[in-house]
């Protein structure tokens, strides 16, 4: 029934190039949804910004743990059927589903965050918004190595997935780039399909404490909500932590421990979402992969709190090298 929506979406011809008036945006979140204070929230911020600016009609749906692809697909289809002609899927779990739905609804513009798999979620009406997390992680790795007095730093990953491994790989490379003989302790809190590792500050605390006890003095928490535990124990032990996804120094929930957060690896999902919506809005939609990396400004590191002011120049040096392509950061071990 995809054809029926042609009139519903304002009567415009659904080809790229023609700006649509009164855009209806559907957003399908990953597990956690709006309010997860992390990845999904970041996407929500982008949506909110677009909404206030363009006055959109939006619909937000979220995933449940343990659901199947059919349910994800159903979610996207419900959005399409509801007349939402611009659909954003947050998270790689939507890869297969978006591929199928997009094929059936060529008039709808889709975007998927964090995935670009050829033949699965690619098509003329899909934008694949991916991030070079390894590059940002590299920079905070540099910061960690420069700040560390012991030459021993840590990485706490929430759940052992390829996505989080990207963070680890980049981080380790960053550390080694500064101090080749530095030790990087690595710990993942849980293994899939147990995704509680993103949600268990107590585990984060235990893991980080172990790292501090073993001589680390900076720990990078790529662990969603479990990062809170990392920062808490860093504070209790007068050590440092590094945040992830957004500038965690400024997160209200972390106000009490923010002075140990020296920097954060920023992944601008909000920017990606906003960019995508405005591209549809002004008719400049482009299918295919759009990489948000350091160069594109989709990835960055935070300086709030001023803890790394002394080494900022050094970090920026590395940043420039990555942007210029002089340093290539691998995203896999």
């Amino acid at each position: 029934g995809a054809k029926n929506n042609d009139t519903g979406s304002g009567g415009g011809t659904p080809t790229s190039g023609a700006p649509a008036a009164g855009l209806k945006i559907g957003l399908a979140y990953d597990i956690g949804g709006r309010g997860d204070q992390s990845f999904n929230d970041s996407a929500a911020r982008g949506l909110d910004k677009a909404k206030t600016e363009f006055g959109l009609d939006v619909k937000e749906l979220e995933a449940t743990a343990g659901e199947t692809e059919a349910q994800k697909e159903d979610r996207l289809r419900q959005l399409v059927e509801g007349g939402y002609t611009t659909v954003v899927a947050v998270g790689f779990a939507y890869a297969e589903a978006i591929g199928k739905v997009a094929k059936d609804s060529p008039e709808v513009k889709f975007a998927i965050i964090d995935d670009f798999t050829d033949g699965v979620d690619t098509g003329a009406n899909i934008a694949n918004l991916t991030f070079a997390e390894q590059e940002g992680s590299f920079l905070v790795g540099v910061a960690a190595a420069l700040k560390s007095k012991t030459g021993n730093v840590g990485f706490v990953g929430g759940v052992n997935t390829p996505l989080i491994q990207k963070f680890e790989v980049g981080y380790t490379a960053g550390v080694k780039a500064v101090k080749a003989d530095a030790t990087v302790q690595v710990k993942y809190l849980t293994q899939p399909p147990d995704f509680t590792g993103f949600n268990d500050p107590a585990k984060g605390e235990t893991a980080a404490k172990g790292m501090f006890d073993a001589g680390a003095d900076v720990v990078y928490a790529a662990a969603g909500g479990s990062g809170n535990g990392v920062f808490k124990t860093a504070k209790a032990n007068s050590k440092w932590g590094i945040g992830v996804d957004s500038d965690q120094y400024n997160q209200p929930a972390l106000a009490e421990v923010k002075d140990v957060i020296i920097t954060s690896m920023i992944k601008e999902v909000d920017v990606a979402v906003y960019d995508f919506i405005s591209s549809v809005k002004n008719g400049s939609f482009k299918a295919g992969q759009k990489v948000y990396d350091l160069k594109a400004g989709g990835i960055d590191y935070a300086t709030s709190g001023g803890k790394i002011d002394d080494i900022k120049a050094k970090i920026d040096e590395y940043k420039a090298k990555i942007v210029s392509g002089e340093i290539k950061v691998a995203d896999k071990k």
């Binding site: 309010g35 302790q185 790292m211 073993a214």
Partner: protein, 419 residues
């Protein structure tokens, strides 16, 4: 029925030997011997984390909610009600602690978490005691209901709260922590010397005296208090009689329903407290933060033979291995050697008491672990986390199953139906 319905297999393990219970000295001696073995492994492998204060502290933190869940199970089952809904009640506790905690401080959180646990317990009591519903079914229903309700309420109350979100509460302050001044430092100095046995003992003691949350102390008091109340008081005798022979209790004028209600409600309270402990110690409520610990708590209770000391040991063992697997990977690698040695010791003792098959089995696994230790530098990181589960399974397999569950736990009971 609670051990899993069937009693088959229990006869194959050594039968419960009654008679004298081991004296405290025997236990102490056993503990020292075990520590010596661990120390030996620590010295040979250099994995200081095996007995470091940090490990002990982390083990305590991990063990406390488990112990609370196990204690909750103990209260219910001693009164004859199986409570598999612990997980759900813990979830209610985490939410309660988050809700009250961010508004009125951690203690309010503890109290309200406990209160919501009580609500869950009451629901279970109404279903099982009044309506005679199968205990397992009621528990499963509560496990379905509670997380849904918690998330539902969390979205309702926390979404717009400052620093909160749809799935997490705003931050709660932490409960106070205490350190024994002077002593802890002294132990620290000894620990750093890495002497055989002495440093290990110091590490353990330091872990037990440094930065201990008041909630941990509360939990310890509750475990001891439960032991006293259930086995030394008239109230406890009546409560236990409801799990052993409710008909007899009723015929002596004990109001069985009342005690079952009390026990299951208390069970809910303990589970809620365990949940609150999660929230308060990690600084906020988070959806799903109990992560199935209610079930592990139940396992700890069975492991501990429905006794406070036993369940504390079970929770401690699990907490210890869990803490170790989350901390360095070295310690888990060293654990392979430790397990190997322990299994060989078991093999020898079993051989001497005539259980040749079991002895051979233990020896084989022991050698396997030893070989794994020497043939590798580390346990694959994906497998490290399995340590607590594997160790629990191994201990259960090799320890004789001298379990004595309350006789009528899980059996529906109706007033005036006996005799």
């Amino acid at each position: 029925m609670t051990v899993g319905g069937l009693s088959v297999g229990l006869d194959t393990a050594a039968a419960p030997k009654r008679g004298k219970r081991a004296s405290p000295w025997t236990y102490a001696l056993f503990a020292v011997a075990a520590l010596a073995v661990i120390s030996l492994v620590r010295v040979t492998t250099g994995a200081t984390d095996l007995t470091s204060a940090g490990t002990v502290q982390a083990a305590l933190t991990a063990a406390v909610p488990l112990a609370m869940a196990a204690l909750a199970g103990l209260w219910a089952e001693r009164a004859g009600v199986v409570n598999i809904g612990l997980e759900g009640m813990m979830v209610l506790g985490t939410f309660g602690a988050g809700y009250a905690g961010y508004q009125w401080g951690p203690w309010a959180g503890v109290v309200f978490g406990l209160f919501l646990g009580v609500v869950g317990g009451l629901l279970h009591a109404v279903a099982t005691v009044t309506f005679g519903v199968d205990h397992i079914i009621s528990g499963v229903a509560i496990n379905l209901l509670a997380p849904g309700a918690a998330l539902f309420m969390s979205k309702l109350y926390f979404t717009d709260a400052p620093g909160g979100g749809a799935r997490q509460s705003p931050p709660i302050g932490d409960a106070p922590k205490v350190t024994v001044p002077g002593f802890a430092d002294l132990m620290g100095t000894i620990e750093d010397k890495h002497w055989f046995l002495l440093s290990d003992l110091a590490g353990v003691l330091r872990g037990l005296t440094t930065q201990i949350s008041v909630l941990t102390l509360l939990a310890a008091a509750l475990i001891i208090g439960t032991g006293w109340l259930l086995w030394r008081s008239a109230f406890g005798l009546r409560l236990r009689s409801c799990g052993e022979a409710p008909a007899a209790a009723e015929s002596l004028g004990v109001n069985v329903y009342k005690y079952k209600y009390l026990a299951v409600t208390a069970s809910g309270a303990f589970a809620g407290l365990g949940g609150a402990f999660f929230a308060v110690s990690s600084g906020q409520f988070r959806e799903g933060q109990t992560g199935g610990r209610g079930f592990i708590g139940l396992a700890a209770m069975i492991f501990g033979n429905w006794r406070p000391g036993g369940l504390a040991t079970g929770a401690g063992l699990f907490g210890y291995t869990d803490a170790m697997s989350l901390r360095g990977s070295d310690a888990v690698h060293a654990l392979l050697l430790l397990l190997g040695i322990a299994l060989l010791v078991v093999a020898v003792t079993q051989y001497r008491s005539g259980h040749h098959v079991l002895s051979g089995f233990a020896a084989a696994i022991g050698v396997l672990f030893g070989w794994w230790f020497f043939a590798s530098d580390e346990v694959p990181p994906e497998l490290v986390g399995a340590a607590p589960y594997v160790v629990t399974l191994l201990v259960l397999t090799l320890a004789a199953q001298r379990l004595r569950p309350p006789k009528l736990a899980g059996e529906p009971y109706r007033r005036g139906q006996s005799g």
